[in-house]
């Protein structure tokens, strides 16, 4: 016996009609036969609706072209890998950057004695140190640098492009003490490039590679871990000894290793420009191998050029 009983509300044998089509539309083609006669388009006149369509199409094409041009422009900067050396300092405001600059110099070069800290480089005009010119440009961006070029009496004359290789004379060059760093380049008859800084406490540094290492450290952009630092040194040495001074076989071997390294990353050691890229590029350009380099090397040289730091180098290559 059930507890509750309820009478059925509706009959149990209702028939439900389930639909087979979700949406229904009127048949467009059903009016075909009768529609042709109504529209008199066969004699060459253009339907205003079609005109409007064409106009819209043209407009869209124009916008597409503009977009393509803009994208091309961006592609140049996008395909050139990001070359921010020290993103932390460069993104700060200029005043703060100058302050950290002085602090860095004090820690790197010793206490400021109230006088211009002058770096003196003696170079032979027969083989200009291209990588040092690039590093000079980088230094000028970071510090207030007083640059000057002199010709020593041991050299009778020097081509004019070597006299202007450090750029135009600074307008405030008459007040030496307002500058943080001095960069004095002397064209002299020396067998090997040498740098003098503090003759009382430092002996002179010889060789373009070593001076380049010193100047790069002033930018406070040295890689911090030992592995990368060693790789940078290895590339620098390879450039100076095998690319610049080696025979054609050695140069070809270096080009191959450059090519393979650049296949893996936009710069030689990853995502950032390092000393290795600067020195290798300069040695490559000077050795004249840049005429028909392998694809990756070519792309990489192009990136270097796009950076703008290498502009001072090209006039000296002719």
């Amino acid at each position: 016996m059930s507890m509750y009983q309820v009478k059925p509300v509706c009959g149990g044998d209702m028939k439900v009609d389930l639909p087979t089509c979700m949406y229904t539309l009127p048949n467009v083609h059903a009016q075909q036969g009768g529609g042709c006669g109504d529209h008199a388009l066969q004699n060459g006149e253009v339907d205003p609706a079609l005109k409007a369509l064409e106009a819209r199409q043209d407009e869209i094409m124009r916008k597409l072209y503009e977009l393509k041009a803009a994208v091309d422009g961006l592609a140049k900067t996008v395909t050139t890998p990001d070359a921010d050396l020290d993103a932390t300092t460069l993104s700060q405001s200029p005043a703060a950057a100058a302050f950290t600059g002085t602090a860095d110099l004090d820690s790197l070069l010793g206490k400021d004695l109230g006088a211009l800290r002058d770096i003196v480089i003696n170079a032979n005009p027969a083989s200009p140190p291209l990588s040092l010119l690039v590093l000079h440009g980088l230094l000028c961006q970071r510090y207030r640098v007083l640059s000057s070029v002199h010709v020593h009496s041991s050299v009778s004359s020097v081509p004019p492009q070597l006299l202007s290789c450090l750029g135009p004379r600074h307008t405030e060059s008459y007040t030496r003490h307002r500058f943080q760093l001095g960069f004095t380049l002397i064209w002299k008859d020396v067998p090997k490039l040498q740098m003098k800084f503090n003759t009382q406490s430092m002996c002179s540094i010889e060789g373009e590679a070593n001076v380049a290492r010193f100047l790069f450290r002033l930018l406070a952009a040295d890689p911090q871990d030992a592995v990368t630092a060693t790789q940078v040194d290895s590339w620098v040495d390879m450039a100076m000894f095998q690319l610049a001074e080696g025979g054609s076989k050695e140069q070809a071997a270096v080009l191959r290793s450059l090519n393979s390294a650049l296949g893996r990353s936009p710069w030689l050691l990853g995502q950032e420009l390092t000393l290795a890229d600067i020195v290798c590029a300069c040695c490559l350009l000077r050795a004249g191998q840049a005429a028909s380099p392998p694809a990756n090397v070519h792309r990489w040289l192009q990136s270097c050029r796009n950076l703008g730091h290498f502009d001072c180098v090209y006039p000296l290559l002719q």
Binding site: A115, H150, V151, H152, I186, Q200
Partner: protein, 531 residues
């Protein structure tokens, strides 16, 4: 014991006497014999001399040249006696530097200024024995006229400047004879000090050289030094004329001392006295105010400083520059340093022979410089000196040892012997120096150094009469004495700057010599007034 003895004694005496007399006679006889021999020999020689002197008219002492006749003869310079004249018969006038007789030959070295050549008189068909003897006896330093054949030699004659040729003399005449005893020997005067010490040979000390300046100036070293000095003067003039400067001559007798009265010479001037100018400063500036714009002057400077140092003279030749500028006195510094660099370049390129000649007696490092000239600031110099261990204040002047040390430090770092030190402290400069606009402790003044010694002191001058008066009062100078000087700025004066160098000091430092008297022809110092 008596007569017999006496007789005996007398006999002995007689015998002794006769022995003595005999000896005496013998001696006399020997003497006479010798004399006779000699006379005979002389007679024989005389005969031979008279007989064999076929070259009598090819040598001798000429009559004094009183312009008796105009001889149309070309005298060849010793400098031009080179192999390309081989075989030619030439006339040469030169001095006898040395002569050495060897039997039938006499070797002479003939000298003309810096050049000398070996000459030979040999007994032959052109020269007789008497001629060779005459040539050997000509005193040193005599001036001779020589006709000779230029002969090339296979082995180089190292001791002469003309190493590839030799003169074979056919005629030799003495034009001016020198006294036999010379106060100093030229080889000794040219000998380097070190060689003299090591090998025990004689050298001549400076006082002797200066006392006999006429002979000392004949040495190759002196000839080279003063030719180079002439070159310095000439290059100075040429460079400045090319830059548009005007040469002026300023008075040396002035009425009042311009820079403090301590170091002036007084001369009696009719009923009053006047002074000899210490520098052309006042007049240079007046020329600038007179619109000459860029001036220079070359003339004597008189300083009555009782300093007996290696670099001070009481009278020297001053080369002074003054220039009006547009906006900054560095324009003037650039002009002056460019002039100095042009002088150094001219000396380096055209006077190498002279530099090498001086280097033989006084060896030194070649002079190095940079173009454009290195310019350091005074505080940089102080920092460099402090780093080297010297203690000095910020506004202290540089003492001479500090200047030398600074010169060495700059040479070590920049490898230059010439540089400019800018922005000296105001306290150590004269009253007419313009103060630095940004820092009253410093001034717009500069010094230039060669081999660590100061050669030029210059500054931007105060061109405003009022500021000048203030500065003069500050220095405690009597305004009445400099009234004329201040007045010259009252009628519109352009901003100007300049400086002056001493010719003798610049030559001395360029060649690396150690005493300014070597570069002054007839030097004047507190102890020397002649020659």
């Amino acid at each position: 014991m008596t007569k017999e003895q006496v007789t005996g004694a007398a006999e002995e005496e007689q015998q002794a006497q006769s022995k003595k007399a005999l000896k005496k006679q013998q001696k006399e006889a020997e003497k006479a014999a010798k004399k006779a021999e000699k006379q005979a020999k002389l007679a024989a020689e005389q005969q031979t001399a008279d007989e064999d002197d076929f070259a009598k008219d090819r040598y001798g002492v000429s009559a004094m040249v009183q312009s008796q006749e105009k001889v149309d003869r070309t005298l060849v310079r010793v400098q031009e006696l080179t192999p390309h004249r081989g075989g030619q018969l030439v006339w040469v006038r030169a001095r006898i530097h040395t002569s050495r007789a060897k039997g039938k030959q006499c070797f002479l070295v003939l000298r003309q200024q810096q050049f000398n050549v070996q000459a030979l008189v040999a007994v032959g068909d052109r020269a007789s024995k008497q001629m060779v003897k005459f040539a050997a006896n000509i005193t040193k330093e005599s001036i001779v006229d020589v006709e000779a054949v230029v002969q090339t030699v296979e082995q180089k004659i190292e001791s002469c400047s003309q190493q590839d040729v030799e003169l074979h003399i056919e005629r030799i005449f003495v034009i001016s004879q020198a006294e036999p005893r010379l106060p100093l020997q030229l080889e000794d005067a040219v000998r380097p000090e070190t060689e003299g010490e090591e090998e025990g040979r004689a050298t001549v000390n400076q006082d002797t050289k200066l006392d006999n300046r006429v002979i000392d100036l004949r040495t190759t070293t002196s000839q080279a030094i003063f030719r180079l000095q002439s070159g310095v003067c000439q290059l100075f003039r040429d460079t400045l004329i090319n830059k548009g400067f005007v040469e002026i001559q300023t008075p040396k007798i002035i009425s009042a001392a311009s820079e403090g009265g301590a170091n002036v010479f007084t001369v009696s001037y009719f009923k009053t006295s006047a002074y000899l100018a210490q520098s052309p400063q006042l007049y240079k500036q007046m020329c600038i105010c007179a619109d000459f714009d860029k001036v220079f002057c070359v003339g004597p400077v008189f300083r009555a400083e009782d300093s007996n140092t290696h670099r001070h003279l009481t009278e020297f030749v001053g080369l002074d520059i003054e220039m009006a500028f547009n906006y900054h006195y560095h324009e003037v510094i650039d002009s002056i340093t460019d002039t100095m660099v042009q002088i150094f370049k001219g000396l380096r390129d055209h006077f190498q022979t002279e530099i090498q000649t001086v280097g033989k007696q006084y060896p030194s490092e070649p002079f190095k410089f940079l173009e454009p000239t290195l310019r350091l600031e005074y505080r940089e110099a102080v920092a460099m000196l402090r780093a080297a261990g010297v203690e000095m204040g910020d506004e202290e002047d540089l003492s001479t040892p500090n200047e030398k040390l600074l010169g060495r430090l700059v040479k070590e770092k920049y490898d230059t012997d010439f540089y400019v030190l800018d922005k000296y402290p105001l306290a150590v400069r004269p009253f007419y120096t313009m103060p630095d606009p940004n820092n009253p402790k410093y001034s717009n003044s500069y010094d230039m150094f060669m081999r660590g010694e100061e050669i030029l002191s210059g500054a931007q001058r105060v061109h405003d009469a009022q500021l000048l008066t203030e500065r003069a009062l500050h220095h405690g100078i009597d305004l009445e004495k400099i009234k004329a000087y201040i007045d010259s700025f009252r009628y519109g004066a352009p901003p100007h700057a300049g400086g002056g160098i001493g010719l003798e000091r610049v030559t001395m430092l360029y060649l690396g010599l150690h005493n300014v008297r070597q570069t002054s022809m007839f030097p004047r110092d507190p102890k020397r007034l002649t020659p």
